[in-house]
């Protein structure tokens, strides 16, 4: 049984109240929806939080995911973001094994190529971070893996709608 995931990104504006995340997580588990990643923080108005959820809709309908979320009393607004028309970013932090000057040099080369950052330096380890699209993070992670990843944390995707490139014309 092969399962080919199909990811959709939804952005949910919720009341910033205790238990709201549990309600969303509970709904996903109860209805058999699969969360790939989830990022949550208060908005500029601290009465509300914005949650970016990447959901695997290969075996459920996105329509049901949206409608069931909308039934939660604390959910104010749900938008589905099309990857074609949205700007997406994710943050990765990782600690790598770098016991030799050669390893260190090569890691720093990759950091420069990817426009990443060295965050912390140990006597035989380096901590680096990268902000970018998921794809770019995947590539970076793959290239770093041969040095030995000691620890890694990714935040999950956050996203905003792309801005209009031309002024809309009056019709």
């Amino acid at each position: 049984m092969s399962h080919i995931p199909e990811f959709h990104t939804i952005v949910v504006r919720v009341e910033n109240k205790a238990g709201v995340l549990a309600r969303i997580a509970g709904l996903f588990s109860r209805r058999g929806f699969n969360i790939e990643s989830l990022a949550v923080a208060p908005t500029d108005d601290d009465r509300f939080s914005r949650i970016t959820i990447v959901v695997d809709v290969a075996s459920t309908s996105i329509d049901q995911v949206v409608k069931q979320l909308d039934k939660l009393i604390n959910v104010l607004e749900i938008r589905e973001l099309d990857p074609e028309t949205s700007v997406e970013r994710e943050l990765m932090m990782t600690t790598l094994s770098a016991p030799t000057p050669e390893a260190r040099r090569e890691i720093i080369d990759l950091v420069q190529i990817f426009d990443a950052q060295v965050l912390n330096v140990g006597f035989d380890q380096l901590m680096v971070s990268l902000v970018g699209s998921q794809r770019r993070l995947d590539d970076f992670e793959a290239l770093l893996s041969r040095f030995g990843i000691i620890e890694i944390q990714r935040t999950g995707k956050i996203a905003l709608s792309e801005l209009a490139k031309v002024e809309p014309t009056e019709s």
């Binding site: 919720v14 205790a18 238990g19 109860r30 409608k67 039934k71």
Partner: protein
């Protein structure tokens, strides 16, 4: 006016028009019970918290008003979970107040602490843990609004003990609005969709109105009848909508689904248009989903947008309140020419009446020396009771026979646990219904299995002077499970026999302050029902000894297509295996 939290809970309930609550005190909720002595609210003291929940549900079913239950923390709250989920599945407006340990004790595994809001999250429409005493009026006001609007459901309010102690005072206020920015249920249907649906109705050759519990929740029985009569379209009434369209109406085909009338089941299977009004394509209605109503286009009206397209694709989905949408549909159909603008449906009518003639609901005659036919008991009971009698039931064979053999001609006369299938629902639901409608006769039809789960609430009924009547269809078995074991497990009856002499139901009933009867022979059935109907000062229990081998038919085996419905053995062709098509 300064008021403490406990007084505020009761004042808030009074403010919502609450007259009756069902509950039981305990440690964490104890402070709320003190000012109850001065309150105008009638409190009915239950014997088990689950009973309080089902009573609130039965009360809500019968009266249309939200049912209210009050219990303490921990085990009381967990005892309430079944009743909450039951109300959730059947969209019953209910508000449950639970006590909680004091705020500083939350999370410490304190005595009788339970994560009530966590546990009931998926069993309620919404729940609250109140953290400030001054929030009590607003939260209770919002809770009633949520429970009774949109798709109704249970709402739980968990109140820590320190917020209801006498020194927790605040300035009372009457909430004016709601603090629910994410809650805007849509009630008006989209006019373009209503117009499109009306055109489809006018063009359909084999239409069926598939009416569900939403008709009752929306109080749309009159509108449904107008729509059916003006278009002359037959109606099936789901288990949740028995009484929502009169059984003696010529357009009523009866109940669809696993144990539905043959004609109701097959009409849906062969329809070219299903007009689903407040129904949700439950698996007990559809049978095998991919073989259900293969040629039918679907108009789906539901207050809950998430029901539209959840199970079955809807060609015209309309989110909103059934009453308002059906009203608009009627206007639209009138504009399109009403009955005269429709195609000739004679062939369809003949098909339906042919099925009705060939496959009516049937059961065998009494066999001398054997126990009673349960269907006979229900028929006689229905004949002996006023037409507006409220009938409650538990879950199992007796529930199906009650739905099949009672004649429901009035809305809000049938109360049962449809979605969750909660055994033991009947007695507490009947107590709740009778508490809300004291002038109506209320009968609970129960199985012996169900009776043993919740019968202690008959003590509540006796002590509180709520004279409900109970008909136990006692076959000494977990009958529905027995039926499945007979049909699908090669008659290997594993753990379904209850034993026929223990308990003694008559004595048990008497011990609980009720009048008890036992009926073994068909001649005693009617006289005993008549005796029971004359008793109005205490509950009555009749132990009807019924035949264990009796099965519920028709039946669509689990996982089978509705086209494979098994009719009663006496109706099966000699050369077929029992299937009719």
């Amino acid at each position: 006016m300064q008021i403490n939290g406990a007084q505020a809970v009761l004042k808030a309930l009074e403010h919502e028009g609450v007259e009756t609550v069902f509950g039981m005190p305990g440690g964490a909720i104890l402070p709320v019970y003190d000012p109850l002595i001065e309150s105008s609210i009638r409190h009915i003291l239950v014997r088990h918290e689950q009973g309080a929940g089902h009573m609130a549900s039965g009360y809500a079913h019968a009266t249309g008003k939200p049912g209210v239950a009050i219990v303490t923390s921990g085990p009381a709250a967990t005892n309430m979970v079944t009743a909450l989920l039951d109300a959730m599945m059947d969209s019953i407006p209910m508000v449950c107040i639970t006590g909680q340990v004091a705020l500083p004790a939350i999370g410490t595994d304190a005595f009788q602490e339970a994560d009530t809001t966590g546990i009931t999250m998926s069993a309620t429409k919404h729940n609250y843990l109140v953290t400030k005493v001054e929030d009590i009026p607003q939260v209770i006001h919002d809770a009633f609004h949520l429970a009774t609007t949109g798709r109704p459901g249970p709402v739980l309010v968990d109140i820590p003990k320190d917020l209801v102690l006498p020194d927790a005072v605040f300035e009372w206020y009457e909430p004016t609005g709601h603090d629910l920015p994410g809650y805007n249920p849509k009630t008006e249907g989209d006019p373009a969709s209503i117009a499109e649906a009306s055109k489809m109705i006018m063009a359909a050759k084999r239409p069926v109105i598939y009416s569900g519990g939403g008709i009752l929740r929306s109080r749309a029985a009159d509108e449904l009848r107008t729509l059916a009569e003006m278009t002359d379209i037959p109606v099936v009434t789901t288990l949740m909508n028995r009484g929502g369209f009169p059984d003696d109406h010529e357009l009523n085909l009866g109940m669809p689904g696993m144990h539905g009338n043959y004609t109701a089941v097959m009409a849906m299977q062969e329809a070219d248009l299903l007009i689903a009004l407040g129904a949700r394509f439950d698996d007990r209605v559809t049978g095998a989903r991919d073989k259900f109503a293969p040629d039918a286009k679907v108009i789906h009206v539901d207050i809950d947008p998430a029901e539209l397209g959840k199970v079955r694709f809807a060609h015209v989905p309309i989110a909103g309140d059934a009453k308002s949408i059906i009203t608009e549909m009627i206007k639209e159909i009138e504009k399109l020419g009403g009955a005269d603008g429709q195609p000739d449906r004679d062939a369809w009518r003949q098909t339906l009446s042919g099925w009705q003639e060939k496959y009516p609901l049937v059961y065998g005659d009494h066999e001398p020396g054997k126990l009673l036919k349960p269907q006979f008991v229900i028929e006689k009971l229905a004949e002996a009771c006023p037409p507006d009698t409220i009938l409650c039931s538990g879950v199992g064979q007796h529930q199906m026979w009650a739905s099949q053999y009672w004649t429901f001609n009035h809305p809000y006369t049938w109360i049962n646990s449809g979605g969750l299938g909660t055994m033991g629902y009947s007695i507490p639901a009947a107590v709740g219904a009778k508490a809300g409608m004291p002038d109506r006769m209320v009968w609970a039809v129960d199985g012996d299995g169900c009776f043993q789960m919740t019968s202690q609430e008959l003590i509540t009924a006796a002590v509180e002077h709520i004279p409900v009547k109970v008909a136990i269809l006692n076959n000494s078995w977990l009958g529905m499970v027995r039926q499945w074991q007979e049909l699908f497990y090669d008659e290997r009856f594993s753990e379904t026999h209850f034993g026929s002499e223990i308990p003694n139901y008559k004595m048990w009933a008497e011990a609980m302050g009720c009048v008890g009867f036992r009926v073994d022979s068909p001649e005693e059935v009617v006289p005993t029902i008549q005796k029971a109907n004359e008793i109005n000062d205490r509950p009555v229990v009749i132990d009807f000894r019924t035949q264990a081998e009796e099965n519920v038919y028709p039946m669509v085996p689990a996982g089978a297509s509705n086209s494979e419905v098994l009719v009663d053995p006496s109706q099966r062709d000699a050369d077929s295996s029992g299937e009719t098509s």
